[in-house]
Subunit: 365 residues, 3 copies
C-alpha cells in the first residue's frame, strides 16, 4: 500500500470517527431528554375475583384488578404514583426490584421506610426513579403473607433498558406470567389465612387457574420473552413442552452466560425472564410440573397450566380449548406494545365488595 | 521463504482441504445412516411394589416396573413405541424433554395433543425422533399429580448426543437417579391422593427408600455422571459427602460454564446432570438434605439416601450395609453399557394386582 | 534489533525468571508452614433458647449456643476437635462441605463412617484438614431431621482460601446467616417433631426470629459478603431491598461467572455466598420472600427478616428498631476479624436444662 493510500484512509477514518462521536454525544443528550416524568393514579379496592371454576376470592385489588395495572416506563424515568386506599385496612406499595437509590423513604415498608401503612380512606404519594431495568413488580408490604400471598396485591412493572441486549432486541412477543397460589378455605375471609401451616389448594397464572386462563398464542418464528414473577407464597416449576427456555435475565439483569432449560423454577420474590424460540408448530402444554399445582384442589388439569398455540393450528372437537374466547392481552402482550404508561386489563377486574370500614378500623402494620 | 516453497505448501494444503471436506461429507452421510429406527413394546400394568420397609404401594407400572424400562437411543434415532394399557384407567405417555419437532401430536397430553388417554385395554402407538440429546424421561400425562406423583408412572430415557462434550467423554460410570415421594395413606387407593394439601411421608431414589435401595459403588479414578430426574411432586436437595458435583447439563443440554456444588436442588420436572470425580476412597453418605426426606415417615435414616462405596472398602460389623445384596444395575449403570435398546431391571418389578377394569370404567382425562 | 540487544534482554529475563522461581518456591514453603494445627474443645448441652417472642425452645446446643461456635481456620490447617456429649442422647458432628480427603472415618455419620453416635457422657475426637476453602458448617448427623432440623445442632465454619479471588479481597464486612425453621408444637419435646408431615411455624436467621434478631449495620462503601447457610429443613427466598446480591460462591467455591439477583433461594444443605455493594444509604428490609416465613406463626412481620441500616441513619420514633440494643457480632462480623480460632457469641447461649440422662438411655442412630 502506498503512502498516499494510507493518508487517504486515515482521513476517511478521521471523518467517520468525528461523526460517530457526534452521534454518540447526541444520543446521550437525547437519552437524558427521554427521562420522562410519569404520573399515575392507583386505588386499592375490595373486590371479589374469579380465580378458578367455583372459586371466587375476596381480594384487595389495585385499581380493582388482579394482577394490578401494568406500569411500563423507561430506565431513568421519574415516576409519581398517588395511591388511594378505598379498603378498610392499611396498605403500602413496595416497588420490588427497584433500587430506590438515595430514596429509601419511598420503598413502601411500614415501620421501616414509612411510619405506617396508608390508612383506610387516605391517599399517599410515592416518587421513584426507574433506576433498575427489566422485569419488576409492585406489591403491598403490610401483612405481606396474606395481602401478597392470597389477596392479590401485586402487579407488573416493565422498565425498558437504555441499552437492550442483542438477545432482547430479537423479541417479537412480550409475555408476563405472575405466579401465585390460593387457599380456598379463606377465600371469603379478609384477615385470615396465609400462615405458615396453611396449605394452598389453587394455583394460577395472572390470577386465573386453568381452564379460566388463556392460551399463549404465537406464530412460527416468534421470539417470546416470558417474564416470570413469583408473586405468591409457592414455588413453581414451569415446564415448556416442545421448546426450551433460554434463561436470560435474573431479577431484571442480563446473564453473561444464558443457558437453556425446559423446566424453570420460579420462587417467591424472583422475577426472572426466559426467551423462547417459537420454531415448533402445533399445540403444547406449558405447566407447573409440581403436578399437585397443575390441579384445582386436586382435579387435574387445572392450576398453573396454559397452552402454547401456534397460529394456523386447527382445533379438533376434542381440544380442551376449542372455541375459547381469546383475550390477546391476558399476558399483557398487547399493552406492552402501546408505549409507556399505565395499562389496565378490564378482564382482570373483580366485582366490587361492599366496603366494610367500620368493622376493620383497628390499626395494623 | 521462496516462491517455490509457498506454492508447494499451498498445494499440500489444498490436498488436505479436499480430503477433510470429503471426510466431513462422508461422516455427515454416515451420521444420517446411524439414525436408526427403533421399535419398543410397552405395557402399563397394575402392580404392587415395595417402596420402603413396611410400605407396599399400588402403582400403574410401565412393563410392570418402577422406574419403567430404560430407553437408550442415539440423537436422531426414529423411535416407535406401542403402548398397551392393561390397567382399568386411561393413561398416556409424554416424552419429557424431547422437542417433538413438527410432531406435537405425539407429545402425549390428553385433550391437547391426543383426544383422550389410551383407554383401558387399548394399544396406542407413539412415533418420535430423538431430537434432543441428553437425559430425558417419560411419564403419564393423565391425572399427572397422582399418576406421576405417587403411582410410579415414569422411566428414564438417555439420548446419546451426536457430539459429546469433552467432559462427558471422560465419564466412566453412568448413573440415573429418579427422585420421588409417596403418601403412605393412599398406598392402596388408586384414584386418591396427591392433592395439593396431601403431604408425602416417604421418599426414594429409583422408587426405593433407604435402606431398600443400593449403594453407589465406584472405584478410585471413576468419573461418575449422575442423571438426576425430578420425577415426583417434591423438591430434593441432594448432598454428596466427600465430593463435589460439577453441574454440567441442564435438562439435557451442556452448560457453557459448569460449576461445582455439594448440594444440588432437584425439582419436579428437572433433568439435570452432574459429574463427580471419584478421588476420595472410603464410604460417604449421599442424601437429601431436606432432612425430613432422609427419613421413612420421620424415622432417620431412610428416604432419599444412598452411600458412595469405593471398591476395596472393607465393611465393619457395624456398617449399616454390611453384607448388602448388591445390584449393580440399580442406577442403570450396567444397562447403559449395553448399547441401544430398551432395558428392564427385574429388581424393579412389582407383584401383579388383580386387574379391576369393571369398577373403574368411567372415562377421565 | 541488534544481536547484542537480544542477548542483553535474554540475560535480564533469565535473572527475573530465577528470582520469580525462587519466590514461588519460598511462598510454597511458607504456605506449608502456615498449615497450622488447631485444637478445639466442644460440648453438646441441653439448653433452652429464646427463638421468637413467646417461643422458648429445647435444643442440643454446641457449647451451649445456637448457632454453635464459629470455627475460623485457613485452608490446609489441621484441625482436632474434642466433642463431649453432655446430653442424654447420642450425637455426632459432620463437617459439612469439607472433603475429608482420605479421611472418611472423620465424616461424622453414624453407621457409615463411625460405629454409632457419641454416647451420652462420652468424649469423641475428630481430626480433619481444612481441604476445601470457603463457607462451610458443621452439624449433628444422628436423627438429622430433628437434631439439625429443629434442635439447633449447627454452627458455621469459615475456611480462608490460600488464594482469595479478587472479588472477595474487596470485602469489608463479613456476615454469616444460618437459616432455619422451628415447630412450636415440639419446642419442649426432645425426640419428637420434624417428620415429613410436620409443618414449621417459626423461622429465623442465626436462630432468632424478627424482631429478636439484629440489624445488618453497614457504612456507605462497604462490600458485604453474606454467607448463607441452609441449616434447617425449609427453603428460604431471601430478598434484599435496595441492593443486588452478586452470587459469587456456591458451596464454598467461586463461580467463574458471578451473576446478580435481588432474591436468592437458600435450600437445606446449601452454603452459598453473595457479595453486596453498600451504595444506597438508608434503611432497607432484607427478608424471606416466602412471606409465610416472614411471620411468627402467621404474625407479620416476624421470622426470617432483618434490616440493612446505614451508619448515620437517624431513627424516627416510629422505626420498628428505634433504640435497639445492638450486637455487632450477631452475624459473626466481629469474630471474623479476630484471626483464626473458635469463637463463641454469648448472646447465642441458652439457659441450661436439667440433664435427663436416665430417661433417655436407649441407643439410637
Amino acid at each position: 500500500m502506498r503512502r498516499n493510500d494510507v493518508e487517504e484512509i486515515n482521513s476517511i477514518l478521521n471523518k467517520w470517527f468525528f461523526i460517530c462521536a457526534l452521534l454518540m454525544g447526541l444520543s446521550l443528550l437525547l437519552g437524558q431528554a427521554y427521562a420522562a416524568e410519569r404520573e399515575f393514579n392507583m386505588t386499592i379496592d375490595e373486590v371479589k375475583i374469579k380465580v378458578a371454576p367455583g372459586l371466587d376470592y375476596n381480594v384487595f385489588a389495585f385499581n380493582g384488578t388482579v394482577p394490578g395495572p401494568l406500569i411500563h416506563v423507561k430506565q431513568g424515568d421519574e415516576v409519581t404514583v398517588h395511591v388511594t386506599n378505598n379498603t378498610s385496612l392499611a396498605h403500602t406499595i413496595h416497588w420490588h426490584g427497584l433500587y430506590q437509590t438515595d430514596n429509601w423513604q419511598n420503598d413502601g415498608v411500614p415501620g421501616i421506610t414509612q411510619a405506617e401503612g396508608i390508612p383506610a380512606g387516605d391517599t399517599y404519594t410515592y416518587h421513584w426513579i426507574a433506576d433498575k431495568p427489566g422485569t419488576m413488580w409492585y406489591h403491598c408490604h403490610v401483612n405481606a403473607n396474606e395481602h401478597v400471598g392470597i389477596r392479590g396485591m401485586w402487579g407488573p412493572i416493565v422498565v425498558d433498558p437504555k441499552k437492550p441486549t442483542p438477545l432482547e432486541k430479537k423479541v417479537t412477543k412480550d409475555v408476563i406470567m405472575m405466579m401465585s397460589s390460593w387457599e380456598s378455605k379463606y377465600a371469603g375471609k379478609f384477615g385470615k389465612g396465609a400462615g405458615p401451616t396453611d396449605l394452598p389448594d389453587f394455583f394460577s397464572i395472572n390470577a386465573k387457574s386453568f381452564p379460566m386462563d388463556q392460551p399463549l398464542r404465537v406464530k412460527k418464528g416468534d421470539v417470546v420473552r416470558v417474564r416470570f414473577i413469583g408473586a405468591g407464597n409457592s414455588l413453581h416449576a414451569m415446564h415448556s413442552h416442545g421448546h426450551d427456555m433460554v434463561v436470560a435475565f435474573r431479577d431484571g439483569l442480563p446473564l453473561s452466560e444464558p443457558y437453556s432449560v425446559d423446566t424453570q423454577l420460579i420462587y417467591p420474590g424472583s422475577h426472572n425472564d426466559v426467551i423462547m424460540y417459537m420454531n415448533n408448530s402445533g399445540r403444547f402444554i406449558f405447566h407447573d410440573h409440581i403436578d399437585t399445582q397443575s390441579t384445582n384442589n386436586g382435579k387435574f388439569p387445572g392450576g398453573a397450566v396454559t397452552i402454547i398455540e401456534y397460529a394456523g393450528n386447527a382445533h379438533e372437537d376434542w381440544y380442551v380449548w376449542k372455541g375459547k374466547d381469546y383475550d390477546p392481552d391476558f399476558f399483557y402482550s398487547e399493552s406492552l406494545k402501546k408505549g409507556y404508561g399505565m395499562f389496565i386489563n378490564p378482564r382482570f377486574a373483580g366485582e366490587p365488595l361492599q366496603q366494610r370500614r367500620k368493622h376493620r378500623s383497628k390499626k395494623q402494620r
